[in-house]
């Protein structure tokens, strides 16, 4: 009973904090929505709002080139009557994600951390908190990713398949997570079933979108097209934008393909290598997508970092946690400052911001690499930690 109480406190606290911050600082949402760290053209609430307006006034949503949110999301928001309900919805969704993380922890036999701690880490994670307050639409993708993970652990492949399809519908790249997810499904029959269901769900969603969008397929290029081809070269924390600012036009399509391929290329190897630790493979794939996607926000990395408590059995094997966390900390702290120097004061330039986003990417990458190493060491030691032995990587 005590444990249960703690968990519900955590979830309620998670919702409470978010509502508290949103209602106490009403201007914060707008400010965060302006910050490149929390908002991209693909996830910004401002453009979503524009989409709602257009939809309500029966104007083609995607003609203006401003809105890149999926049709159904815009439609869903156009049904919400008040601002307060939107705040409530966002807070509530974060609460659900926190709850799902707690539930997922229960399926980890080796995890030494109490379940509620995982939820508390999510609830107090400032990145997720601020991302939620900024009303970034990435939270919906995150919700469906964590739902997919939870239901696959519960063995409910129907919902899993639907959830991952919805996550993919919302922002394409989570579709790749289907691969590690299939690895978590037991028999071949069920795997095929999952695949079929998620494809079906996806088709249905697209057809629904087609209908809602006034029988026009133009939403495909405005949402997925723009996302995959990095249509809007906006500065963000990712690795893409700087390349495409500097590049000769002739090379751009080629390198966009390369970047996408690169993103894809690590998913299958990670899944194969950790097929016995399938949940960890799933988490590492999330991390890899967060690192490599064209429009990442701090909300993405906050979501990924919330999974790190799952790795508690292998914490002892981490080789440079201080290094990685300092890198990430500095990257996150300095990025708004360098952006300010570049955009507001004019005394810096784009190299400043890109340099710091590289530091941030290096931080994420070193966390990923370190976790991978720790998992491999754990496997090598066969579950009986032996910190004395020193192994070389090669």
């Amino acid at each position: 009973m005590g444990a249960l109480n703690k968990e519900s406190y955590v979830v309620l606290g998670c919702i409470g904090i978010r509502l508290f911050v949103s209602l106490l600082f009403p201007s914060l949402q707008h400010q965060l929505d302006q910050a490149v760290e929390f908002s991209t053209p693909m996830t910004s609430f401002k453009s979503l709002y524009e989409g709602i307006y257009l939809l309500k006034n029966h104007i083609q949503v995607y003609d203006g080139g401003v809105v890149h949110h999926p049709v159904l999301l815009v439609w869903f928001f156009s049904q919400i009557p008040s601002e307060f309900l939107i705040d409530l919805l966002y807070a509530f969704i974060d609460g659900i994600i926190g709850y799902q993380l707690i539930q997922i922890t229960k399926y980890l036999r080796k995890c030494t951390i109490p379940c509620w701690v995982v939820g508390a880490v999510y609830a107090l994670n400032p990145l997720v908190l601020l991302s939620c307050v900024s009303r970034s639409s990435i939270i919906f993708t995150n919700l469906f990713i964590s739902s997919a993970l939870l239901y696959v652990l519960q063995g409910n492949i129907l919902i899993t398949a639907a959830c991952i399809a919805i996550a993919g519908y919302l922002s394409v790249y989570p579709t790749l997570l289907l691969i590690p997810l299939l690895n978590m499904v037991r028999t071949t029959n069920r795997k095929v079933l999952t695949l079929v269901i998620s494809l079906l769900t996806w088709q249905i969603l697209l057809l629904l979108s087609y209908n809602v969008n006034g029988h026009d397929w133009n939403f495909l290029s405005a949402t997925y097209g723009e996302l995959i081809t990095f249509g809007k070269v906006f500065p963000n924390l990712g690795l893409w934008w700087y390349f495409f600012v500097e590049m000769f036009d002739a090379f751009i399509p080629f390198f966009k393909a390369v970047f996408n391929l690169f993103l894809f290329s690590f998913i299958i190897p990670l899944t194969l290598r950790f097929h016995k630790q399938s949940l960890y493979a799933f988490v590492l794939c999330i991390g890899w997508i967060v690192l490599m996607k064209p429009y990442p926000t701090l909300g993405d990395s906050g979501f990924f970092l919330s999974f790190i408590p799952f790795f508690s059995p292998v914490f002892g094997y981490l080789r440079y946690p201080i290094f990685s966390s300092l890198l990430l900390l500095h990257g996150i702290l300095l990025s708004p400052i360098f952006y300010h120097l570049w955009i507001d004061l004019g005394s810096g330039n784009s190299n400043f911001f890109y340099a710091i986003s590289l530091v941030y990417a290096l931080g994420l990458a070193s966390i990923l690499a370190d976790l991978t190493w720790a998992l491999l060491r754990y496997e090598y030691d066969d579950g009986k930690p032996n910190y004395k032995t020193k192994l070389t990587q090669i």
């Binding site: 300095l334 400052i337 004019g346 005394s347 330039n349």
Partner: protein
Amino acid sequence: MGLFERVQRQVIARGLIPKVISLLPLISTLCIVLGIVIIGILPFEGQYRNTYISENALMPSQAYSYFRESEWNIVRGYRSQIVELRNASAVERNAIMSEWLQQFGTKTDIYQNHETGDTLYGVFHAPRGDGTESMVLAIPWFNADGEFNVNGAALGVALARYFSRWPVWSKNIIVVFTENPKAALRSWVEAYHTSLDLTGGSIEAAIVLDFAGEGDLFDYMEIYYDGLNGELPNLDMVNIGVFTAEHEGMKVSLHGTPFDKIKEDTLFSRLKILMSSIKNSALSGVKKTYGNEAFSGWRIQSVTLRARGQNGPFDVTSFGRVPEAMFRSINNLLEKFHQSFFFYLMLAPRHFVSISSYLPSTVAISIGFALASLNSYFNNPYYTLPFFSLYTLLSILFWFVSLVVTFIVSNIFIYSPFPTILLAVNIIICLYPAILKGNAFMKDLLSYRLRSTAFLFMSLLLTSLLMVNFPLAFGMGLLSFPMTQVKTITSDTPTISRTRVKNSVLLLVSNPFIATWLFSLLCDNEFSGLDVFERLVSASRELGCWTWLVLCVGWWTPWLLVAISALDTVKLSNDSEDFKKQQ
């Protein structure tokens, strides 16, 4: 990777890691020394560079300056009229000046502000421009010392008249007359970018004229360039000021170098200007403001030109030729100022160091704090405990609470400053460990973790401040460093009372308010008594300078944590319940 592995194996084989960890306090102190040395060697021959005009389009003093004999009587005429306005009200002064400006076709308007005083400004539209860019000539009626800026105002209107007859301008010229160079000018700049109707496009550069008195002559020129919050104008802007002034034969002084010392170019003179430039930039807005500070934060390159002395060989028109030539230079620009340095320190009017030379010093100081943080994490009997323990969480909680407290106190202080109470409270906090002796209330592990959090925060703060406001980061790093030497007191500590006294002294010295106060009294003759606090607050309120906030939130917060950690503690002994539970 192979090399890395080999190094790693050697390090482990020789047991270097425990050795390094036990030497952390020493290494951290060495980092600070290194930071000082890096700054200290800058004035040596070969470490600094000579200034040069980086943007070729500027071509300072390439055109002949015509603001000479023909304008002499005009300046004098305006001056004799302005002298009579000395006791007139601001409204009268502005009305007359506005009439003069309109006589030669300048559009004028008055920006009304009841708190800071009205500001008159006129826009002369460029004959050859598209009207999207402008240059500002700002003249405070009363300068930083409160003197009536007679010559400055006369020059301002005479220059405006003279410029209006020229067809060469490709940027609009805005003439601004404000009551003072501080809040009034600042509020006008803000209003220009937010609410004013009559505007002349984005301001590229601004020159503030300061020539008090009615005499014809002056000895030398002083240039002020420090912006608020660590901002500096592009080095090219300072350079064209220095180049054009020296082209006219004047000597240029930076950071209050007296006339007889300007010629000196020795190690000591360079060191002195370097130190003053760090100090003045760190205290910019807090010290007297000469006008150029008002333009900070809007991508405007600004300098203040001030005439000093009264008997020299130069007359009013030669002072006027400097802004004339500078405006001609800026007028040539096709792009914004971007070529030259935005981050630099001056050692002489023609010597500077760029950021790559001086930045490492504060990086070293920041690393020093990070190492101090690691030191208090590792160098105690409990380093084997997991990171996520109750005590770490407690220390983070303490940090968060003191962050909120310092933020609230700093904001309250802005509206009702009581410096004496603030100092008294801080002194009491310093002496508290000695007063409370024997009454231990926390475990020694918490004390270590508190310091660890505090120093990590300080290190992160210094790193964040590094690029934005280097002088402030450097000064704060140096002055707050003594607090890394504070030691935890347990019952095992040998010479317990000596440690207590030492802790109290270290806390006193590194307290943000006491240290700032002592620094202002010892290192600058502009401050007296406690007025540094009032000035910090007024800079924050009137100019939007965030030095006060940084002192409170950035420095006071970790200091409070360190002060708490200096209280007496109980040993979290090996056989206690806590320790077992933690393990």
